[in-house]
Symmetry: C2
Subunit: 200 residues, 2 copies
């Protein structure tokens, strides 16, 4: 028996994993929209959400975006995707993280949530991005049961992407796919300024 090189071992391991994945994909027979939650402290949650919207639109499907926190300022993704016909609902006041303005924030959240509910009922929309929805639950800004009901009762073929830190147990439980982005390293901790076109 000839000894395998490290590279050969590695390749064999990869192939075995790939075969396992392919078998899993073959067994996967159910066709319907999924709920994807992208949470964790690392960079890339909203970015992945917008990547999903780009992918969806690139295949000729309709997508819609709701921005619960970010989005008040110049937003590269919105600049590009709105021009391509993607409807955006943006929390008008921004988000203050300030107890004094809690009532103002809640009112703004409610307005944007009304728009989100319209998207979540529209079977023509293939993907709805609910960017930073998790905070609306963790700060008790919107009624939890109403959010969970709207997610659960969306059209069968519609996928929904929820982003934000600390997704609640109910969101994780309901989701089909959950990615948890760990913050292994971040440029700003090394003193590098956030950059237009990269960080926002």
């Amino acid at each position: 028996m000839t000894a395998m090189t490290e590279v050969e071992k590695h390749l064999r391991k990869s192939r075995n994993r790939k075969i396992k994945v392919e078998k899993g994909v073959e067994k996967a027979k159910e066709e319907r929209g999924i709920m994807l939650v992208i949470t964790g402290n690392g960079k890339g949650k909203s970015t992945a959400g917008f990547g999903n919207v780009t992918r969806c639109v690139g295949h000729g499907y309709k997508a819609a975006v709701v921005q619960f926190i970010k989005g008040k300022w110049d937003c590269g993704e919105r600049n590009l995707l709105e021009k391509l016909g993607v409807p955006f609902a943006v929390m008008g006041t921004g988000f203050t993280w300030n107890t004094q303005d809690r009532e103002v924030d809640i009112s703004a959240a409610k307005i944007v949530w009304e728009q989100a509910k319209v998207f979540l009922k529209d079977p023509d929309i293939h993907v709805v991005l609910l960017d930073e929805l998790t905070y609306m639950l963790s700060y008790d800004y919107l009624p939890k049961d109403e959010i969970l009901d709207a997610l659960k009762n969306r059209p069968r073929e519609q996928s929904v992407v929820v982003t934000g830190r600390r997704a609640s147990a109910e969101l994780i439980e309901m989701a089909d796919t959950v990615s948890d982005i760990q913050d292994t390293k971040h440029a700003f901790r090394a003193g590098i300024k956030i950059r237009k076109g990269v960080d926002w």
Copy 2:
């Protein structure tokens, strides 16, 4: 002293974290492009990479994409971004994960890497996405030192996004920001078929 409600405690904690982040952002004075590595087994690595490209293009900057493994097939992101003028370099043969075809794969990798090097020297390109570059190192498909040199010597203002599982120690070390996407849950393990416009 009035007892704080759970929500108030939560908000105070968030504000404190936000103040800490803001202080960090203020202290961050260095302005230059960053290297971002998005690794881990979870869904969202390439998606976040393409989200970054969308953001960059939406601000009117130039971006370029190199796809080292995926991309042979119908690709939503490419459909959309190529039309907007983003140059793509795609590994023509696809990727076989097959020892017999290793030499074919290596030749294809070398061709696409030549194009990547051109992008990595162009100061007009604000963001270069090197999608699934990590495998070129872990399978020993491209010379490691050449890759690391090209990344290190890119134009100062250029940012680069590297995606793929198991990023090597050298890539992690060189990166300014590293996000590690954990696969908490995946729809296909629950028997749900991968979907156009969502998974690809």
